[in-house]
Structures are given as structure tokens and as C-alpha cells.
Amino acid sequence: MATITVNGESRTIESDPGTPLLWYLRDEAGLTGTKYGCGQGVCGACTIHLDGVAVRSCMTTIGMADGKSITTIEGLNPDGEHPVQKAWRELSVPQCGFCQAGQIMQAASLIAKNNAPSDQEIVDEMSGNLCRCGCYQRIHAAVRLAAGGA
């Protein structure tokens, strides 16, 4: 049994502690904003925050999060008005949108620790988040915009 704070709400979880958070969130908690893209931690679509830091939820188990706090795209901001979310909309970043929750969570994690990232720091932080539609130009610009407004 594990106790995890999910988007500010403490939850007692009886599932196998070896279950990746991705599947707990999607199939048990009903939080489908976090996406499955690869299951190997190589695409970033499932990115959430563990104690405020971006992690891949497909590689982070319930056990690893016991006693900690996680945030998903649904809980990033109660009104959906986090600076990163606003910047994403301002620059019309998404195409299909499927990877964007992960991108946004990764960007929010970067900005929380560095509110003036350089071009290269943005690239380094965001390089594990793949986008098949190819929204990278706008993702890069939106991270910069969000950082400026953070």
C-alpha cells in the first residue's frame, strides 16, 4: 500500500507498487491527460512532476512515489492558466496535441528551476520529449515566452 499526493489530494493506493504511475493514473485514477507513447521513457509523452520535478510516469512506479507528491497536466494549474499553458496557447503550439501534456509538464519543470533558460538549456531540457508533428520551433519559442512571463 502506498500513499501518494495526486494533484494535491492524498490517495491511498492498493495496487501493486511495481505498477508504473502512467497506468495507475490512466486506468485507475481516471486521469487520462497523461499519455502513453512508448513505455520505455524515450518519448516523454507521459511526463508528470514528482515533487515538482519532471519524470517519466511510464518508468516511475507507484512504489517509487510512495510518500511523495505528483502533479499531472490536470493539476498543473487549477484554471489551466500556468504560464506554460498560456504561452502554448499564445503561440498555437500544438498540431495533433498528443505529446503536448508531456511537453508542457517538462517545460513547467524547467521554468520552476530556471526562470531564464538559455536557448541551449531549453534544447537540453526538452530533447527527451518527442513530437512527431514537429512542433519544436513553437515549443522552443513557447518555453522562452513562458519563462519571460514566469
Binding site: C96, F98, N129, C133, G134, R138, H140
Partner: protein
């Protein structure tokens, strides 16, 4: 050539300042008088309805698609207005990132003068007899549906005006729809200040008969509020950024189970034996089912067959599948090995093939040539790899089947699911969720048949069938593998006197008919027989290559390897002749002309992206124009530091003319980077410039992926790659950093053309040509690899 009336209107106005055109169009003394008296601002005045011209439809291939336009121009099908004025518009094409779910409804909303902020979009289920063709691929949503969508919007607007006229007891000519209201005009056509909202008119308007097609009047471009502006955000933007957008795997039904399947690694493989004992011990696993495959050729989109593991969560199902012990009978395709196959294709390309286009006498030109060039270009298979792997939710209840899926072709899926379940099509419903990317894979509904069959095995219980990334990589309908060989002859003046293109590639047609090893007109029409060069002797030949895996389409299809070969060869020839590649390309395209397919020896069944050639001809002036625009914007000819270079490539596909200039910079370790790319395109009449730009920006990244990184290879019949760890796509650490997009303003008579696909093919050859300019090294195989040695 028939022209749509709004294009004719533009024709008349070409070169004329807008304000003058307005006055000319209106040309009524009293209005001019009223304008003078009131100081009415021209730009906000309401033009007289008489300034609008009636519909003159033009032929497109849309009518010829399955179910054609259905009832797409009928507002009763596409538009609903509530009593409070809220407008609902149905989106019938699938949203996979192009923005079509926003852009097509926007056409209706603009034409009917709806306030966009009061419009709600509802995704239509798969019902082609009602909505018209829903097969969202081939870059044809706008190309084929702008006309019926404008008709639908114009009909709605005129019905609302008529309803207001009846209410006021005045002539409809004195009623003018404007910003979600109908306003009343006085005898001099000036606004009286009286107006009625759409909500109040809705019931009466909807009860009126739909105006006859020939009585419809379209808005003039200067009246557009949404089209051409690019100001409206995509309708799902907020939901996407807050995690609320619903994709295939986000559908939740009461009592829903989760499933994954084990499928044959080699096409045509069958289960010899299997043991599910350990699977059944995995916590959460509830049942295991053998699903029969479609083994008879052609398989079309039939399911591959295999073992389905049903569980209480996706993760338990995956663990259960991992625990399966399956012995496969791989069948005949186990002999498929990519290395050997390339060798074989290369040998085939060295020999004469089936002649598909013949103009002049290539052999004589080659014989007489002062010099020649022969080059061969290879491309590995590609997999579409949308970020959202395939997924489908299915349930069968009270004799009705219901499916939810991210599917590009919901009606085709519905027909085949009905057949697979042994049900009538009326008893099957297919709901379309958002697609987390498609790129052609989600046109094929094998995954939906699987989900339906699993639900049937469960007695109709709702089930979500999830494909893992590995499944998506290994059981796709792959972009074909190809060898393209180009031979060119040059005369003593340094002109190209002969051009021969041989293509050797397994055909898509192998998925639909017994495989002959030869391609078919749709593949020939993609950058093969229609290369628009002014060369006296041209021959296009197709060598035989049998398919050993499922061949499907991938964004831009055959254009990718063809354009890579042709545009690389052009640059190679320019170098050989000591010419500038851009000038040489322009010279090859030649004089301003409309290509005459017959005179050029195109095949009789020449495929023009599904459209009549008369409406969508190939015009060389437009192609040359985008080449010049892109070159100028990129600073073609500028001096660059060592290790940097520019490359160019251009084509015309899906009616759209595209030229891309890539600026490469080779890092010290040989890494190929792209600091800048420019794409100029002429897609004719355009609607949503902001989404056009996003498509082209994305095409540069996807182009970078297949240029440098992505390839699928086979060993003993099975795909060697599995996930993004070994089927790599461009990451943010190496993507085209700045992509400038120039949209050429349409000229009169130019219809809306494709956007989703045509931007992709030029990137790889432009990059290969840039790498050559930077290093002197010619890379002829895709993927080229991240580093140049």
C-alpha cells in the same frame, strides 16, 4: 476551365485597389450619395447583395470519392442553431493535427456570418451517405470540401435572411446577415438599426427549403471574417493544454476491460501453438482469446490475427502478453531481408523495366550525349509512428456495436467492422476521437476490427484495445522501400537532352490485389511520370519488386523517394556541368507553360491527385515562382563559412507548388544540423494561413527525421526496430531551428489545394543538396545518418 464565382470576382479585382472595387461592384448612385452624406467608412460598410455573384461550381475529384459530397451542402446536416443563438457545426473530417476540425467549420461559419465565439464544433460519426466522404487523407479536405462547405454556409445565411424578411414583411434584399444577426436595410441599402439575432430566427430559418444551388451567393474575399485571417485558434487548443482533450485511449465506458494482442512478427504468420498458463497467473489478467487473422491475399485492412489478453488494466494486459509462450509458423515472408532486397532492387533498376511514360527517344539521346549522369538513390521503409499508438474502444450491446477510435476513415472502418462482426452497417456506429497523429496509419482499420472481435468474444463487454509502441513499429502498413535510378544525357550545349527515371519499389496495390510487383497509377502520379522538366526525351520505367510486408501510405507517399532522387540528381547534374543548382533547376523546368499530359507521353490513366486535370493543371510558372521566392528569402548565392551550404528542391503535388531551401551547418564532429529552412508554397485559394505555417514547420521536422534518422529494416521477415529507441525521429537536440514559410497570394482562378502532405518531400533532397554544397559529399541513401563522414 470553369471557375468558381468567387475566383472570378477576384479575377476582376486583380490589380484594383479594394475600395475602388467595392464602389464599382456596388455601383449605385444612392449608396454613393449615402456614403458621402454619412461619412460611412468604406471598410466596414455592408456590400450590396447584388455585388455577390452566384455559384459556379467547378469539378473536383471530390464527387468521385466514395459517397462524394453526400449532403455536405445542406445546412440541416451540418449546422444547428439553438434558440439562444448558439451554433453547432459538424466536423466530418478527422483531426490529426492539420487543423481541419477548425478550418472547415470556419468556412461554414464565415460564409453564414456566424460569430466564431458562439460556434461549437461536434465531431461527426462515420456516416458518408450523410456527410460525404470522410476518408481523411490525400490532402483533400479543403481541396474537395471548401465548395460544399461554402454552399452550406451561404445557404444557411440566405435562409436566415429570408426568415428575417418574413418576420419584418420586407423583401429579402433588404435583409443582410451580419455578425450573428440579420440587419434590416432601408431603401438605400443603409442599415436601419433594426436587427434580429440568429437564435430568434433559427426555427423559422431551418423550416425553409434549402435555396437551390444556383441561387446561392458567396461572400467576397474582402468580406471574410475568418477565412484568410489565421486569427482563430484551433478549437481544441485549451483542452489540449489542460489535458482534457479526448484521444482514442481516453474513452472510458462503465465496466470497460483493457486488452493487448500478440501478433505474428512476419506477415502471414500463423500460430503453431501457444501456452497461456503463465499469462493467466498474472494479477489482473482475466481472459485470453485466439483471434483469427485474414490470411488470404489480398488482406486489405484485415486483422493479422494472434492472441488477445484481456485484463483489468492496460499494464496487466501487457504483462500478461509478455508471459505468453507462442510458437509461430512464419510462412513465406520469413525470407525477407532488407540487405538482400536492396541488392535485388538495385539489379532490377539496372535493367529496362515496364515503360510507363515515353516521350521522344531517350536511348538515342543517351547514345548521342556529350556526357551523361547515372545515379541511384535508396530509401528504407518508414513507419508512420504517430505519437498516439493505435487504440480502439469497442462494445456490443442490444445488437448494436459501438466503436471509438482515432481513425482517418471512419466509414470504411464501419463497413468492415460490420462485415467482421456479421452485423448490418446500420447496427454499427463509429465515433471519431481526436487523433494523436495519423500520417496514413490510421486510414487502416485493422486495429478496430481486432477490438470489435475481442468485444464479441467477451459477449459485448466494452474493451479498450491498446497497441504498444512496439506493435505500432512492427505491425504497420509501411511506406515502401525503394530504389530510384536516374539517368541523364547532356548535349554539347550543356542542356539535358534525355531523362530516364526507373523506380523499383513494392506497391501499395499489393495490400489490395494480388501482387504483380508493379506499381499503379496513383504511385506513378506522385513525382514519377509528371516530373515537369522541359526535356525532349523522357522515359519512366517501373521495375518489378514484390511486397513481403504490408505496404501502405505515409504522409506524401511515393513523392518522398521520387523527389529525393530527382532533385538530388538535378543538383548532381548542375555540379557536373558547373552550373548553379537553382538556376539549373529553373532551366530544367523551362518555359512558362501548362503541361500537356498527352503530348508529354504521360500514361492515359495519369493520376492527378484524384482531380480533373482541366481544373488542376500543372503550371510551370507557379513552380518557378516558388523556387525564386524561396531562393530569394533564403539568400541563395550568399557566401557561407566553411562547413555550411544551401540546397534546394521543389515540386508540385496535391495541386500545390512547393520549394524548400535548406541551410545546413556541419558541426566539427560531422553532425548535420539545419539552422534555417525556407519553404515557399502556392496552394491557390487558402483558408487558414496559421495552420498552413504549422504544417510546413512540422514537415521540416518530419523531413529531418526521414532524411537523417528514421528507417525500418527487415531480418528474416520481421521488423528489426521496436520503439523510439531504435526507430529514431528528430529530437529537439537536432531540428530545423528556424523555418520560414512564405504563402504565395493566390491568383484568380486558382482553387484550394493540398497542404498536409506537399511540404514534406522537398526537405530531404534540399538537405542532401545542402550537405553536398557544404562538404562535397553526396548522400544518396535515406536515412542519410546524423553525421557526414
Amino acid at each position: 476551365m470553369t471557375m468558381l464565382h468567387y475566383l472570378e470576382q477576384e479575377a476582376r479585382k486583380a490589380g484594383t485597389p479594394v475600395t475602388r472595387a467595392v464602389i464599382e461592384n456596388v455601383s449605385r448612385r444612392q449608396i454613393l450619395g449615402a456614403l458621402a452624406a454619412s461619412g460611412f467608412v468604406l471598410s466596414v460598410r455592408i456590400p450590396d447583395a447584388a455585388a455577390r455573384e452566384p455559384l459556379k461550381p467547378y469539378p473536383t475529384g471530390g464527387e468521385g470519392m466514395p459517397h462524394g459530397y453526400g449532403k455536405a451542402s445542406d445546412p440541416h446536416v451540418y449546422v444547428a442553431i439553438d434558440g439562444d443563438g448558439a451554433v453547432t457545426i459538424f466536423a466530418h473530417r478527422a483531426e490529426m493535427g492539420t487543423g481541419v476540425r477548425t478550418s472547415l467549420p470556419m468556412v461554414i461559419a464565415d460564409e453564414m456570418e456566424a460569430d466564431w465565439s458562439r460556434v461549437k464544433i461536434v465531431q461527426a460519426p462515420g456516416d458518408e451517405p450523410l456527410y460525404g466522404n470522410q476518408d481523411t487523407d490525400g490532402s483533400r479536405s479543403m481541396r474537395h470540401f471548401i465548395l460544399p462547405m461554402r454552399e452550406c454556409g451561404a445557404a444557411m445565411r440566405q435562409m436566415l435572411e429570408q426568415a428575417a424578411a418574413a418576420k419584418w414583411g420586407v423583401d429579402a434584399a433588404l435583409c443582410r446577415a451580419k455578425a450573428h444577426h440579420v440587419v434590416k436595410l432601408d431603401g438605400s441599402k443603409k442599415e436601419t438599426g433594426e436587427k434580429i439575432g440568429y437564435g430568434e430566427l433559427a426555427e423559422a430559418a431551418m423550416a425553409l427549403p434549402v435555396p437551390a444551388r444556383e441561387t446561392l451567393l458567396f461572400k467576397t474575399p474582402d468580406e471574410f471574417t475568418l477565412m484568410r485571417k489565421g486569427e482563430a485558434k484551433i478549437v481544441d487548443l485549451r483542452d489540449i493544454t489542460t489535458g482534457k482533450a479526448i484521444y482514442g485511449a481516453d474513452v472510458r465506458l462503465p465496466g470497460m476491460k483493457f486488452a493487448v494482442m500478440a501478433r505474428p512478427p512476419v506477415l502471414g504468420g500463423k500460430i503453431k501453438s501457444y501456452d497461456a498458463a503463465e499469462t493467466k497467473n498474472v494479477p489482473g489478467v482475466e481472459s485470453v482469446h485466439e483471434i483469427a487473422g485474414v490470411y488470404d491475399v489480398p488482406r486489405k485492412f484485415g486483422q493479422l490475427g494472434g492472441i488477445a489478453v484481456v485484463a483489468s488494466s492496460t499494464y496487466a494486459a501487457i504483462l500478461g502478453r509478455d508471459a505468453l509462450a507462442i510458437e509461430w509458423d512464419h510462412g513465406a515472408n520469413a525470407s525477407y531481408n532488407s540487405d538482400a532486397f536492396f541488392k535485388q532492387m538495385s539489379e532490377t533498376a539496372a535493367k529496362p523495366g515496364k515503360v510507363i511514360r515515353n516521350q521522344g527517344d531517350f536511348d538515342a539521346a543517351f547514345e548521342k550525349a556529350k556526357s551523361t549522369l547515372t545515379a541511384e538513390y535508396h530509401m528504407q521503409h518508414l513507419v508512420q509512428a504517430p505519437m498516439e499508438p493505435l487504440v480502439c474502444v469497442a462494445r456490443i450491446q442490444d445488437g448494436k456495436a459501438e466503436l471509438w477510435a482515432p481513425v482517418q476513415s471512419p466509414y470504411g472502418a464501419r463497413e468492415d467492422v460490420a462485415k467482421a462482426l456479421g452485423m448490418k452497417i446500420e447496427d454499427v456506429t463509429v465515433h471519431v476521437t481526436l487523433l494523436g497523429g495519423g500520417f496514413g496509419r490510421k486510414s487502416k482499420w485493422d486495429f478496430m476490427i481486432e477490438a470489435a472481435l475481442i468485444s464479441q468474444k467477451l459477449g459485448g463487454t466494452p474493451v479498450l484495445l491498446q497497441w504498444t509502441r512496439e506493435d505500432d513499429t512492427r505491425n504497420a502498413f509501411y511506406h515502401t522501400v525503394s530504389v530510384e535510378r536516374i539517368d541523364m544525357a547532356f548535349d554539347d550545349k550543356g542542356k539535358v537532352s534525355g531523362f530516364r527515371h526507373r523506380t523499383v519499389a513494392p506497391s501499395i496495390v499489393s495490400t489490395f490485389a494480388p501482387d504483380s510487383g508493379y506499381q499503379f497509377p496513383i504511385e506513378y502520379g506522385m513525382g514519377f511520370v509528371n516530373t515537369p522538366f522541359e526535356v525532349p526525351n523522357v522515359r519512366c520505367e517501373n521495375g518489378q519488386a514484390m511486397a513481403h510486408t504490408r505496404i501502405g501510405w505515409y504522409r506524401s507517399v511515393s513523392n518522398i523517394p521520387r523527389l529525393f532522387a530527382v532533385q538530388s540528381a538535378v543538383c548532381e547534374a548542375a555540379h557536373q556541368l558547373g552550373r548553379d543548382p537553382k538556376d539549373f533547376l529553373l532551366e530544367l523546368i523551362g518555359s512558362d507553360r501548362t503541361l500537356d499530359p498527352k503530348a508529354l507521353g504521360f500514361p492515359d490513366d495519369f493520376w492527378n491527385y484524384g482531380d480533373p486535370y482541366e481544373t488542376f493543371p500543372i503550371e510551370t510558372a507557379r513552380l518557378k515562382h516558388v523556387v525564386n521566392v524561396a531562393a530569394e528569402k533564403a539568400g541563395w548565392g550568399k557566401k557561407l563559412p566553411k562547413g555550411q551550404g544551401l540546397g534546394i528542391a521543389a515540386h508540385r503535388a496535391w495541386g500545390t507548388y512547393v520549394a524548400t531551401v535548406v541551410h545546413t551547418e556541419i558541426r566539427d564532429d560531422g553532425t548535420i544540423t539545419v539552422p534555417h529552412a525556407v519553404t515557399a508554397l502556392d496552394c491557390g485559394f487558402y483558408v487558414n494561413p496559421e495552420r498552413i505555417r504549422s504544417q510546413i514547420e512540422g514537415a521540416a521536422v518530419m523531413g529531418m527525421s526521414h532524411a537523417l534518422y528514421s528507417g525500418i529494416t527487415f531480418k528474416d521477415g520481421a521488423v528489426e526496430q521496436s520503439n523510439f529507441s531504435d526507430f529514431t525521429i528528430a529530437p529537439m537536440s537536432n531540428f530545423p531551428r528556424q523555418v520560414d514559410v512564405v504563402i504565395v497570394e493566390p491568383k484568380p482562378g486558382q482553387h484550394a489545394c493540398g497542404i498536409g502532405e506537399p511540404g514534406l518531400p522537398p526537405f530531404a533532397p534540399a538537405l542532401a543538396n545542402a550537405v553536398f554544397a557544404a562538404t562535397g559529399k553526396r548522400l544518396r541513401n535515406l536515412p542519410m545518418g546524423e553525421k557526414v563522414a
